[in-house]
Amino acid sequence: MSGLLPGFTDPVLDAQSAFRAVLEAMSRPGRIQRLQRPPAPPAPLSPASGAVLLTLADSGTPLFLDTGPDAEEWVRFHAGCPLVAEPAEAEFVLASALPPKLAALRAGTDEDPQTSATLILQVESLEEGAGWHLTGPGIEHAHRLRVAGAPQGFVAEWAANAVRFPRGVDVILCAGDTIAALPRSVSIREG
């Protein structure tokens, strides 16, 4: 029998507060947001990525995830979203291990850039004040974010993602119960 776990304690209020956190994270790229009351999803999903999935995914958003049958069943039960076998077909892609190449994900079109995919990337930890230099809309001068466990070659892939603007992929980084976002308009310099 399945080991299905509960989702949000209060589906409406918790999803609203998680949505607010995602909105803040997206409008202030690289700033770390702590989720107030994240759910306890099955491993290897982290509380933050579980909260983001339950907040954003619904029956109209095809989802790809690489986290195994328990997580798939949990997301399908609580969010009711269709699961797809190929990352290229998904609107939300959740990666807990090696993520698919950014170039392989849906990038939208010049007329409809909002139809692109959002990558929800689980990393080890997030820390402000060190690491990458972020610049772009939403950042006054520069912002620093250290991402422990970011995939190899991510910064180079990100530069290639920026070239396609306004097409491109947005990324939400999740670690524990914290999130930080990298919208496609931000540029990253390693430092």
């Binding site: 029998m1 399945s2 080991g3 299905l4 776990l5 509960p6 989702g7 589906p11 039960f77 609580h78």
Partner: protein, 149 residues
């Protein structure tokens, strides 16, 4: 282990959904205690669209929306029970979901079927036949019209 069939489960889920909180609670005194559970979803109230077909073979159309209460619970052994019922009966939906989960366990099933499901089914069948009887008593046969042709 006695396997349950879909028909059996459909039957008890239907009986429990029609019984309501009061009906189920009244039967629980005589039943073995219910196992502890955690709520997976709900109980929550929502709307569902009813679809109909004219004459059974016409094109489907949307008849209207109805209020539905649903609940999903999980027992400690991981068994998941579901309940969907018409109306706004939060307590009834949760009890029905717990009973659905407990009834999937072959060791609990016979006692629960006997003390909860069977009496409720009997009450419901009686109520249905009572309604049918009252309706039949007021039936009008248009014999005169047939005779005039």
């Amino acid at each position: 282990m006695t396997q349950m069939t879909n028909d059996e489960r459909r039957n008890w889920m239907g009986v429990l959904a029609r019984a309501g909180a009061a009906g189920i609670t009244a039967r629980l005194d005589a039943a073995p205690p219910l196992p502890p559970h955690t709520r997976l979803r709900g109980p929550e109230i929502g709307l569902t669209m009813l679809r109909g077909r004219a004459g059974g073979d016409g094109a489907p159309f949307n008849l209207g929306e109805m209020t539905v209460t649903r609940c999903a619970v999980r027992l400690e052994d991981g068994t998941v029970g579901h309940a969907y019922l018409a109306g706004r009966d939060l307590r009834g939906a949760e009890l029905a979901a717990v009973l659905d989960a407990a009834l999937q366990d072959p060791t609990r099933r016979p006692a629960l079927l006997e003390t909860v499901v069977a009496p409720l089914a009997a009450t419901q069948a009686e109520a249905r036949s009572e309604t049918a009887r009252k309706a039949a008593a007021t039936r009008v046969r248009f014999l005169t019209m047939a005779n005039m042709r």
